[in-house]
Amino acid sequence: MIAHNGLYLIYLISAIFFIFAVKRLSSPNSARSGNYWAQAGMILAIFATLLVLPSRNDLGILTAGLLAALLGLLWGNFVKMTSLPQMIALLNGLGGFASALIGFAEMLHQSAYSFSSSAGLVIGCFTFSGSMIALLKLQNLYNKGRLPFFNLLNCLASAAVVLIWFQFSEVPTLKTVLLLGFASVVFGVTLTLPIGGADMPIVISLLNALSGFAASFIGFSLINIALIITGALIGASGMILAIFMTHAMNRNLFTVLFRKTQKNVANTDGKTQTAHTGSPQDAAFLMQNASKVIIVPGYGMAAAGAQHALKNMASILENKYHVDVKFAIHPVAGRMPGHMNILLAEAKVAYENVFSLSEINPDFETADVAYVIGANDITNPLAKTDSSSPLYGMPILEVFKAKTVFFVKRSLSGGYSGVENPLFFADNTLMLYGDAKKITEEITAQL
């Protein structure tokens, strides 16, 4: 009993360590120590558990743990930063699946039906399959549009989960538990499959939250304070990120999950507008004579891996021509929260030069050049002016206020929203067609 009271206390301490860890992540200066706090909390909890709980199969536990440690370290240290969203999606899914397996084991083990272990199983399975679909989409392995009748499918799948769940009143059998897990997996697939690529930051945050809540439910079932607190912490963090992202798109979670994206063609009133095409030489000339350049990266930069080329261009502009170069990042640029920040940091762009939406918007008025690389919807002025546009109300980076705007893009097509960007046809806009990395390198060569 004394040992178990001690264990309880240590679990509490490690949960508090995790809270400190997240707190320290709030500023770049203390962030690294945040990671150490989290590691300390984890080591404490694991070793205390191993010391107190006698196990019948230490060899099996050791093998599973060490094998995973090796794989995890290789994975975490050698994965490319550009495939970070995929890794996060996979980690969400594996975390959820681990909770689901424990819920499964608990349901078979307990003498009476426990709501919390079945909730852990359901949420865990859902998180797992949802994350796998997100992973496929991030890898561009599945890019089809929406499923037919996807809302009907969602209803059916969720109804199946609920029906099977309510079957449990006695001790669950292996068959019913498996069925419940399977129905939850299917529900995860039907819910995430129709959601498009640019909504991925929201989906990943949501799945992150769910993997936390699954852990919390397992905590309820095992009466484990560390699981409950940590799960709630992760859940709250994921929910805040998801809500932050939906606000940045002026949408809400409901429309992201259950509504069709409006693929309406912009009303050009039949007149064909012409966009002005620029050349890398034009861009180089205008930028080296500018006093202030603001670079706006989007998913296209990540897809082309253009961050190093971009950094190179920025340093030459700064050091050779004494141009004030700033980077502007929209909260939903890219495929996960903070995607652009990480890629720029990887290319060694100092974070003092990277600004968020509200910080940078007043600057566009005095900027000579806005260099938009692989971004579209987040700069679309229709979001401010056209109340009939699906983008209306979304906060945008006001690049249209800059003297000259360069768009590095493959074509004139609309962004993810399907809405045409009138900025492409503005007199002060020059289009640079082609691969983001190649164009940037060509400009750099001219400097």
């Binding site: 997240v22 099996g60 995890g72 994975w75 940590t230 912490l233 990120l241 909260p331 968020s356």
Partner: protein, 94 residues
């Protein structure tokens, strides 16, 4: 009674999480996600507990071992990638 206590802990922790995460700058949202991924590996202590109470080589033990494997993958993968990302945010001398 104990369930009510646990629910209270859960709700208060959500509140603490809310206040703590509120302050995280958008630039650090990616490391925040990877660190929370790593600490979601805490379910490993649940798996250790179910493994301890399982009979040898029955389904419960296999499930627990699989959960230990997955949770450890989260812990090590998550902390490794977080450390790599956070290194990028080191203050540089100009």
């Amino acid at each position: 009674m104990i369930f009510l206590l646990l629910i209270s802990v859960f709700l208060l922790s959500c509140l603490v999480g809310y206040f703590v995460v509120q302050g995280v700058t958008p630039a650090l949202h990616a490391p925040l996600m990877s660190v929370t991924n790593a600490i979601s590996g805490i379910v490993i202590i649940g798996a250790l507990k179910t493994a301890a109470s399982a009979e040898t080589f029955n389904i419960q033990e296999i499930l627990s071992l699989a959960a230990i494997f997955l949770a450890s993958l989260n812990i090590f993968g998550g902390f490794a990638i977080s450390a790599r990302m956070l290194k990028l945010f080191k203050k540089k001398e100009r």
